[in-house]
C-alpha cells in the first residue's frame, strides 16, 4: 500500500513533525562522521551496507504481496525471466531466460531458460521451475495481490528442460513487461510452510535472517551465476518508520541509505540521490453526470492550477510538471506530443463563464496520511480552484475511510472530483484503462471512443498502431474531454552516506548488486 511501481509505500505522519526537528537538525553541520560497522570481509573496499526502510515487509514471499518493502528485499533474492535495464528506455532484456520470448501463435509464447542455474537451496532452476512459478502466481488459491499485473496469462508448461510454453487468453502485447515482473521461486521450498519468512532464489543475494520489528539481513550469494558479482558482502534492512530517525541514523553513520526522505529533510542528509518516480498525484474528474459534465469546466480546472509552483514550493523541486498524462517518458505509449496546461487563471474564469458555471457545488474526496504531502496538495488545489470562482466542498478522510468511497462504481454516488496518486506497474500505457475506460476499476469517466480505442489497443500487435491508439486516448483525456486534473510527477528521494554509489531504478527496487562504496 505505498506507491512505488504501484506498490504500497506508506508516507507516515513522520513528515508532520519534521518541521520541529529541522531547526536543530540544520545546526548540526550534517557531518557524516561515524564509521561503518560492517566490512568484515578482507576485500579492502568491500564493506557492508545498512539500509533504512520506512516500514517492515508484510511478507518475504516475492509472489503474494504488493508491497514496496518486500520488493526492496526480495529483488535481491528472487530473479525474473526478463529484466529491465536502468537506462532511459528501461529496455527489457533476458535475465533467467536465455533469449527474449518468441511468439508461436497469437496466444502462445515460448521462452528458453538458461541452464546450469540453481536456487541457493540446491533446487535446479529449469523450465519446470519457471512454469511452476508462473502457474503459482496466477493460481487463485495463492490470492496474490499481484494478480492484476498478470491478467491474460492462462497457463504455463515445461516442454523440455529449457523451454517453457505460456498460453494467454488473447494476444498479449504486454507479455514481456509481465515477464519482467514475474518472480521465479523454487518449486519445493515455496510449497513449504515458512517460505514467506525464509525466501530462496537464484539472485545475487541470499536470505540470512529476519528479526521481526528490527531488520532483515541478506548476504552475497557466493555461487551467483550472473556476470555482475555483488561487491557488498552483506546488507541489513532496518525498519525505521520516522523519517527524522532515519536521517539521524544517516548522519551518525548507522545507516548508509534511507528511502523516502521527505523533501524538507534533504538538506540534512550527507548525500541526496533522486530520480523521477512512478507517482502522479491527480484529481480524478467525473464527466458523465454532475456539475463537471461540460468539458470546458474540466479544462478550466486544469488551467487553474499552478503546477510549477507545486513542484518548486511544495516538493522543494523534487517533482516535475506532468505532461498531461500519468506516464513516464520511458513507458510504452508515452505521448511526447502532449504538454501540460499552462497556469492561466484568466482563461479558466473565461471557460467557466462560457460553460455557464455559476458556483454549483462540486464534491471533492480527499485523503490524508497516505501519499507524500497528500493533504498539502489537496489544500493547494482547493485554493487554486476557489481562486477562479469554483465552489468545491471537500471531504478529507484517512485512507481506510477514503478507499471504499474512492472505488465506488459509476452511477453509485461517485464524488465529482477525487484526489489520488496514480502509478503504473507495467511501464505500459495499457494501465491507464483503470481511469480512462468506461469499465475501468477506478473510472468515473465515460467516453465511448476512448473506451473502444483502449479495447483495440489491448490486442493490437503492431506497436506503431498501438501507440497511435494510446496517443489518441491520451490526447482526448487531456484536451477535448479531460479525465483528470494533471499536476506533477514526484521524484523518489533517497538519503545516502557520502561514499555510496547508487543509481535508483524506476521501479524503486533497491538492487544491492548495483551499489558500491568509493
Amino acid at each position: 500500500m505505498r506507491g512505488h511501481h504501484g506498490f504500497h509505500r506508506k508516507i507516515l505522519s513522520a513528515v508532520a513533525v519534521s518541521g520541529l526537528v529541522l531547526g536543530l537538525g540544520a545546526c548540526s553541520n550534517s557531518s557524516s562522521g561515524g564509521t561503518n560497522t560492517g566490512g568484515k570481509s578482507g576485500g579492502g573496499t568491500s564493506k557492508n551496507i545498512v539500509i533504512a526502510l520506512q516500514d517492515e515487509p508484510s511478507t518475504l514471499d516475492p509472489q503474494t504481496a504488493e508491497d514496496a518493502q518486500q520488493f526492496d528485499v526480495t529483488v535481491n533474492i528472487n530473479e525474473t525471466l526478463l529484466d529491465r535495464k536502468n537506462d532511459a528506455e528501461t529496455t527489457i532484456y533476458p535475465l533467467l531466460a536465455s533469449d527474449m520470448p518468441k511468439q508461436v501463435n497469437p496466444t502462445t509464447w515460448e521462452i528458453k531458460v538458461r541452464s546450469g542455474i540453481s536456487f541457493t537451496n540446491g533446487e535446479p532452476f529449469n523450465a519446470a521451475a519457471a512454469a511452476y512459478s508462473i502457474n503459482r502466481i496466477i493460481n487463485p488459491k495463492l490470492n496474490s495481490a499481484q494478480l492484476s499485473i498478470f491478467t491474460g496469462i492462462k497457463n504455463a508448461e515445461a516442454v523440455d528442460d529449457t523451454t517453457v510454453r505460456v498460453t494467454t487468453d488473447g494476444f498479449d502485447p504486454v507479455f514481456d513487461s509481465q515477464m519482467a515482473r514475474l518472480t521465479m521461486v523454487p518449486p519445493k521450498a515455496s510449497t513449504q510452510k515458512g517460505f514467506a519468512s525464509n525466501p530462496v532464489g537464484t539472485g545475487p543475494y541470499m536470505f540470512v535472517r529476519w528479526d521481526r520489528g528490527q531488520d532483515v539481513v541478506i548476504k552475497a550469494n557466493p555461487n551467483y551465476w550472473g556476470d555482475t558479482k555483488p561487491t557488498i558482502p552483506q546488507a541489513t534492512f532496518r525498519f525505521i518508520g520516522q523519517s527524522n530517525s532515519a536521517t539521524a541514523a544517516l548522519k551518525t553513520g548507522e545507516v548508509q541509505l534511507a528511502t523516502n526522505v521527505p523533501p524538507e529533510l534533504t538538506s540534512t542528509v550527507p548525500q541526496v540521490i533522486s530520480r523521477d518516480g512512478l507517482e502522479f498525484p491527480i484529481v480524478r474528474l467525473k464527466n458523465y453526470e454532475g456539475p463537471l459534465k461540460d468539458p470546458r469546466i474540466r479544462q478550466a480546472m486544469n488551467y487553474a492550477i499552478d503546477k510549477d509552483a507545486l513542484a518548486k514550493n511544495l516538493f522543494s523541486g523534487y517533482a516535475t510538471v506532468a505532461q498531461c498524462q500519468t506516464l513516464d517518458q520511458a513507458d510504452a505509449g508515452f505521448d511526447s506530443g502532449l504538454q501540460a496546461y499552462p497556469y492561466d487563471p484568466a482563461k479558466a474564469k473565461q471557460l467557466l463563464q462560457q460553460a455557464g458555471y455559476h458556483g454549483e457545488t462540486i464534491s471533492f474526496l480527499g485523503v490524508t496520511g497516505r501519499w507524500l504531502k497528500d493533504s498539502e496538495m489537496e489544500q493547494a488545489i482547493l485554493g487554486y480552484l476557489k481562486a477562479v470562482g469554483m465552489n468545491v466542498k471537500p471531504k478529507i478522510f484517512p485512507f481506510n475511510s477514503y478507499i471504499p468511497q474512492f472505488v465506488k462504481g459509476q452511477g453509485s454516488g461517485q464524488p465529482d472530483a477525487a484526489f489520488v496518486s496514480a502509478s503504473n506497474e507495467l511501464s505500459d500505457a495499457s494501465q491507464i484503462s483503470s481511469y480512462y475506460a468506461k469499465d475501468g476499476s477506478l473510472s468515473s469517466y465515460v467516453n465511448d471512443k476512448v473506451t473502444n480505442d483502449l479495447k483495440q489497443a489491448q490486442t493490437e500487435q503492431d506497436t506503431t498502431k498501438r501507440n497511435q491508439l494510446f496517443s489518441e486516448v491520451l490526447t482526448t483525456g487531456c484536451q477535448d474531454d479531460p479525465v483528470d486534473i494533471f499536476t506533477v510527477n514526484l521524484k523518489d528521494i533517497y538519503g545516502a552516506s557520502k561514499d555510496l554509489k547508487f543509481s535508483p531504478y524506476l521501479d524503486g527496487g533497491l538492487r544491492i548488486a548495483s551499489m558500491s562504496f568509493d
Partner: protein, 308 residues
C-alpha cells in the same frame, strides 16, 4: 488473599472478553483489509476473492462465533499476510522488548522522581522547591515524540553516545527509556512532593520531631512509607499507560522492535488478526499489572488487606 486473587482473575478474564469483542466489532465495521491488501486498481472480482480468502465474506455473527471459539482454545488465528504464521507468536515475540523498555523506563522515572519530590517537600516554597518543581513540570509537559527527537539529536547525532534507533547493543535502550521516563518522572515527582508535604504535616511527625528524631530517620522510616502507596498507585497507572499507548510513539521514533511498532505495522497493513491479538495481550498485561499492584499495596502497608 486467595479468594481475592481468584476474584480478581475472574474479573480480568471478563475484561479481556469484553475487550476482545470490542476490538473484533470495531475493526470489522470500520475497515476493509481487502482494499488495503490489493493495489488500487484491482478488479471487483479480485477484491471479493481476497475477502473470501481472509474469511471476511461471511456474516459478522458467523465470524464472531468462529473467533470466540478460537479464543476459547487460546487460538488467536493466523496473520492475514504472513501465511501460516500464528498471530499469537508474532505478538508474543514483540512483548519482551516492550516489557523491558517500559520497566527500565518506570525504574528510571522512580529513581529520578522520588528524591526530587522529597527534596522539594522539605522546604515548600523555597528556591530549591521552585527549581525542582519547574524541572518536573518541564518533564511532564514535554511530549514523548518531541523529547525523543531531541534526545536523538543531542545524544545520538551530536555527542554520538548512543545509537539513534533500533535495539542493537546494550546502550540502545537508554534514549527510548529516557523519552518514556522523563514525562512520567515529572508527574510522579509532583505527586511525591504534595504527598510528602501532607505527610510531614501529620501530628505523628510532629511528635517524632519533638522527641528529637533526625530528619532522615523521620522521613525514611515514617513519612515515606505512607507516601509510597500514593506513588505506587500513580506508577502502576503510568506503567499501564506506557504499555497501552506511550510506548507506541516512542517505539516508532526509536524503531524499537516491540508491541508499539507492531501495532502501527498491523494497523497500516490492516492485519486484523494480529491487531486483535495485540489488544488482547496488552489488556492481559494491564490486568496483570493491576493485580501485582494490589498485592504490593498489602506488602507496603499491612493495614491494607487484599480484599476486594
Amino acid at each position: 488473599m486467595a479468594w481475592f486473587l481468584v476474584k480478581r482473575l475472574l474479573q480480568g478474564v471478563l475484561v479481556m472478553v469484553l475487550v476482545a469483542s470490542a476490538v473484533f466489532l470495531i475493526t470489522r465495521v470500520v475497515t476493509n483489509p481487502a482494499l488495503a491488501f490489493l493495489p488500487l486498481n484491482a478488479s471487483k472480482a479480485q477484491r471479493a476473492d481476497t475477502l473470501a480468502y481472509l474469511g471476511l465474506d461471511k456474516s459478522l455473527l458467523a465470524q464472531y462465533w468462529t473467533y470466540l471459539g478460537q479464543l476459547a482454545h487460546l487460538d488467536f488465528g493466523n496473520s492475514f499476510f504472513i501465511q501460516g504464521e500464528s498471530a499469537f507468536k508474532i505478538v508474543r515475540d514483540a512483548v519482551p522488548a516492550t516489557l523491558l523498555l517500559d520497566t527500565v523506563a518506570i525504574v528510571i522515572a522512580l529513581v529520578i522522581a522520588m528524591p526530587l519530590g522529597i527534596i522539594a517537600a522539605l522546604r515548600p516554597g523555597s528556591k530549591l522547591d521552585k527549581a525542582t518543581t519547574t524541572v518536573s513540570l518541564l518533564g511532564l509537559s514535554a511530549p514523548q515524540f518531541w523529547l525523543g527527537f531531541m534526545l536523538v539529536l543531542i545524544f545520538g547525532v551530536h555527542l554520538k553516545w548512543f545509537p539513534t534507533s533500533g535495539d542493537l547493543g546494550p546502550t540502545a535502550i537508554v534514549l527510548p527509556a529516557l523519552a518514556l521516563a522523563l514525562p512520567t518522572a515529572g508527574k510522579i515527582a509532583q505527586l511525591m512532593r504534595s504527598a510528602m508535604i501532607d505527610e510531614l504535616d501529620q501530628p505523628y511527625i510532629l511528635t517524632a520531631r519533638s522527641k528529637g528524631m533526625g530528619g532522615f530517620h523521620r522521613i525514611y522510616h515514617h513519612a515515606l512509607r505512607h507516601c509510597l502507596v500514593t506513588v505506587m498507585t500513580q506508577a502502576s497507572f503510568e506503567y499501564a499507560r506506557m504499555l497501552a499507548g506511550y510506548t507506541v510513539v516512542v517505539e516508532v521514533v526509536f524503531a524499537w522492535p516491540g508491541l508499539g511498532q507492531l501495532t502501527v505495522q498491523a494497523l497500516n497493513d490492516q492485519d486484523l488478526v494480529v491487531l486483535q491479538a495485540i489488544v488482547i495481550v496488552t489488556a492481559g498485561l494491564i490486568v496483570l499489572v493491576n493485580l501485582i499492584t494490589d498485592i504490593l499495596y498489602s506488602v507496603i502497608d499491612p493495614r491494607i488487606e487484599a480484599t476486594a
